[in-house]
Symmetry: D3
Subunit: 233 residues, 6 copies
Amino acid sequence: MNILAVGAHPDDLEILCGGTLALYAGQGHKVTMAVLTNGNVGHPDIEPDEMAKIRKGEFEAAAAIIGAETIWMNVDDELSVVDLDARLHMVDVLRLANPDIILTHSPDDYHVDHCNTSQLVFEAAPLACVYRLKRELPSTPKQALIYYFDTLGAVNFLPTEYVDISNVIDTKKKMIYCHKSQVEYMKTATGFGMDDVVENVARVRGFAAGVPYAEGFRRLEAWYRGTAKRVLP
Amino acid sequence: MNILAVGAHPDDLEILCGGTLALYAGQGHKVTMAVLTNGNVGHPDIEPDEMAKIRKGEFEAAAAIIGAETIWMNVDDELSVVDLDARLHMVDVLRLANPDIILTHSPDDYHVDHCNTSQLVFEAAPLACVYRLKRELPSTPKQALIYYFDTLGAVNFLPTEYVDISNVIDTKKKMIYCHKSQVEYMKTATGFGMDDVVENVARVRGFAAGVPYAEGFRRLEAWYRGTAKRVLP
Amino acid sequence: MNILAVGAHPDDLEILCGGTLALYAGQGHKVTMAVLTNGNVGHPDIEPDEMAKIRKGEFEAAAAIIGAETIWMNVDDELSVVDLDARLHMVDVLRLANPDIILTHSPDDYHVDHCNTSQLVFEAAPLACVYRLKRELPSTPKQALIYYFDTLGAVNFLPTEYVDISNVIDTKKKMIYCHKSQVEYMKTATGFGMDDVVENVARVRGFAAGVPYAEGFRRLEAWYRGTAKRVLP
Amino acid sequence: MNILAVGAHPDDLEILCGGTLALYAGQGHKVTMAVLTNGNVGHPDIEPDEMAKIRKGEFEAAAAIIGAETIWMNVDDELSVVDLDARLHMVDVLRLANPDIILTHSPDDYHVDHCNTSQLVFEAAPLACVYRLKRELPSTPKQALIYYFDTLGAVNFLPTEYVDISNVIDTKKKMIYCHKSQVEYMKTATGFGMDDVVENVARVRGFAAGVPYAEGFRRLEAWYRGTAKRVLP
Amino acid sequence: MNILAVGAHPDDLEILCGGTLALYAGQGHKVTMAVLTNGNVGHPDIEPDEMAKIRKGEFEAAAAIIGAETIWMNVDDELSVVDLDARLHMVDVLRLANPDIILTHSPDDYHVDHCNTSQLVFEAAPLACVYRLKRELPSTPKQALIYYFDTLGAVNFLPTEYVDISNVIDTKKKMIYCHKSQVEYMKTATGFGMDDVVENVARVRGFAAGVPYAEGFRRLEAWYRGTAKRVLP
Amino acid sequence: MNILAVGAHPDDLEILCGGTLALYAGQGHKVTMAVLTNGNVGHPDIEPDEMAKIRKGEFEAAAAIIGAETIWMNVDDELSVVDLDARLHMVDVLRLANPDIILTHSPDDYHVDHCNTSQLVFEAAPLACVYRLKRELPSTPKQALIYYFDTLGAVNFLPTEYVDISNVIDTKKKMIYCHKSQVEYMKTATGFGMDDVVENVARVRGFAAGVPYAEGFRRLEAWYRGTAKRVLP
């Protein structure tokens, strides 16, 4: 299968579904990681242009660990919008990745860039496969299923499906450590790092799933877009 | 009463509330059917401009069966947006139809054009009757009640009110068959037609309502916009 | 139609659906008011046996105002249970009243007697019409629809249907004043009376319904027990 | 795996999860069908004792079609209760079937016997594997996962998982036709049969799942009782 | 603390959280009242420009009663939008007020201006404290907590926290009476005034909170933006 | 204030609200810990009678750490029921502890003993203060507020209020270690201990609350039983 994960900021996918992506990749599926914004305001001491370059590098390094393709959508951090251009931009991303499955943010997450990413994926999914909607790339053969991954810190999210990431928890953390600019800054700012968040949330989702470490998901229920199979790894 | 139904694509109203509209019309109410998009990408083998013309004709033919007025909003298919122009366009539609009751898509439906239609109706309803909001047409005398009709395939929707469409199920299907370009293409693409969807969903909603065939609805609960009467047929 | 209202304590029906019952009665429907408990611990200064007698009288006086039949189930106050005997007792009540419509407490109300009343009605409704379930009275010809009325103080309840009680608000209050033992004691204990509660809640439900005074309801959604008609007054 | 399905009445399992059971059986899993009540009031013209015998035979015939084991719990129809004896009776059933997966009614279904079945399964599941809870049969080695199947007529139920039963829809209907006493009586009473209900609901759930015929489920989310695998067929 | 309340129209804050603001102010906190639109279509007989001036005056008079600062965002009434400019405008408002706590509309309210206000506050709250997001004013030191106040008429809103406004109910009403242009017009149009709405809703919320008059709230649950303290007065 | 915590099994309170109890005790409030069942089937190698004795000792040792009173309700483990005797037993517990605040299990927890504890507390709370409901102990002067604590493993629970337990996390763990029979057995059975669960869940709830370690709660919303104050520590 082709798997497309779409995150809002350059480190979101690693934090929220990195284990699942590692498993997909390990099973031989083609994994594409797309990120909507360039994260250019992600550090007080670094100029935005410089920051965007650093974060792109960190993102690509993390993707390389599992051999994933990357798509850098390059919207300025905190400034994502939901309009027609953004919708068509996301259609282009879907046509490029041609996914069977899309993993993205929950519509109820805490940050506008997360919510907009989720909304744009929701909007683009049926459009990507409309033949007469002409873009540079041709339409995809079928609609992808959408799975919403957990929110940051497991706030306000009740999963209905789980992926056992116990065997890839170290890979997931390695992917997170690639985002050095963020991990270090966050430790300074809050006293804990994203690795702590990931460790604790994955354990708690594991308590629900009956495994040591898990990631939690909900599937978008929509006309003819359900599935009667396990498509998560 | 004046009844306004607003659908996203030229065949949505027939599928989702066609029976209810037939009943309203049969009771002598004035029924107006508005459609936001022109459905111009609705067939892989037909050019958009040509397709839009065909679908306008199909839509008008379906409306003619029950003697409904039509409003063709002519937004390009898949490309609807929620912005100020779109809101005011919908205000104009409401002022033209001057409805007591509006039937439209649920905000939780599966397609961006459905969701946007629902949102624009929600936004426009209080504005249509604001005297000082100057448009070509004068403000309406009062706010319309909004009823959300079922989703396509009854996915993710729990009705709280039902309309018994047993006596008009054939009319409803006739309205759907007017959308020849869609019915035929869908059968090819999926192996079943919209008449099958309508038949099965209406039976299932009927099981809940205790009648052979039903359509399901929820009313928008909002300040001073409820009702203590049955206004559905 | 035959209307059956089932309350937990002798004054609950008046407070929570008295206006609707007055309207039903005024329209010529047969209204039966049943009360599960005898309210015998309803006053600190009055012995339970004496209290039960007083409350039965108050209840019958209130019912008499609208010409309703009464059923006194005589379970001790605060001591209702959900077991097989209680279920069959409620079946007997339903067979006696033979209702088309039942009004009762929401399953999410605040007091165990309210919740148990609601649960017993839910349990008994399908059983009342089972021919082979032999009781003293024969089975009823069909299942009644169940409407849940508002909770005390409108806490934790979102109505989906409203009844305009503006014309009978005084009748409703008169019914409440029949429960003299409660109205007076409550004013002493809390500084306000049930008439205040009723006044404020009916106004607030009226804001939602677009009328001066309203009572709010939700219908139990259940297999073949919905309706495609307005059955509330 | 060992699969245990627990229904309230002798035909509930066939109607609500018969296709899934057929698939499990076809895949070589051991399927046990348990039924809480004996359905003895299921026909106006047949004496309860006689009826119970007939329904046991119908139930066993249906189970035989897919080679399922049966457990007849023999509680009188409409008279199920939730108490300690009933809980321990269900523990015994679970210890006998030793299930990996349990399919049962949703807690929000429409009939007290359905709700009680669901509640008793919920209560018994953790207890079945408690070593020190001494019953005739020894404790099971581990807790079973609980899946709630659809409600009758798909009322008030939003599935999160689907099973594609397109290949076994005929088997499912054959199982239902075994319940001759019910199928015929229902047609007389309502004008339609359980085969119609099954046909329409399975199509509608199929629209959500993207397959011709489907059954819908929700999994109980509970401490250490989730799963990170597909366990439905 | 610094408290920022953001309303859609010039009288919304007084109606929906005026008591709470009065208490905050009385406790010595710095209260800022911001209003998104200028309310310029608020009266059929008054020209928009004139109306906007009047309403600004009324708003400032109401704020003056409790000594609150004001921010007049001056978007035309009924015409608010959610786009990037609007988001950054709200960021500027947050940087100006530098709030610890923000009170604003529920995302599920009835009017597009209410919903947009809520959405813009949600979007702006994390951005206000991003150092590298350069605006005229510097970033704030920390994220504010967001509390959603009740909806108009308490429709569709279930509070989880309450503020006892019994001691300031008169102040709240005085603030509302400052909006003379609205209070009078509403009485003419509907037969009741905002003071009636406030009286009845505050009593009903008081029934839930166990006090004479209350205002109800829900807190936005979001990553690291909860609190383990009482921050409402 | 008087604080009453009611758990289902002898170690539940420590796991689910031990930090909050420690804080209450540290602030000088009177804390009573009640436990419904005796936990007598809590170990495969220990006879029930012996086990109950051991667990009572462990429970008392844990309570002693924070100086809490204890109430041992001594229902056999896994065999709790909701009936009239159980309700009155709980009324007696409430009259003994005379609480301002009750902390207990969520009604949606995973184990029948947890759910029954929650239900019995819900039922008993209004009854405890009914003067005419005669028991050995006199009625309490007022209804207690009910707070539901988190579920085991944070499954299926969305808190609305948090308590910062960072300063007492070690005390909480010490209380848990008192339950030696359980901690050791669980590590053998599952590979992790309750201290791990507590650590991870408290961190995750802390992410939502913006503190290092937190416990999460929801308050029962019910007639006149809300509060407009912070009553959690």
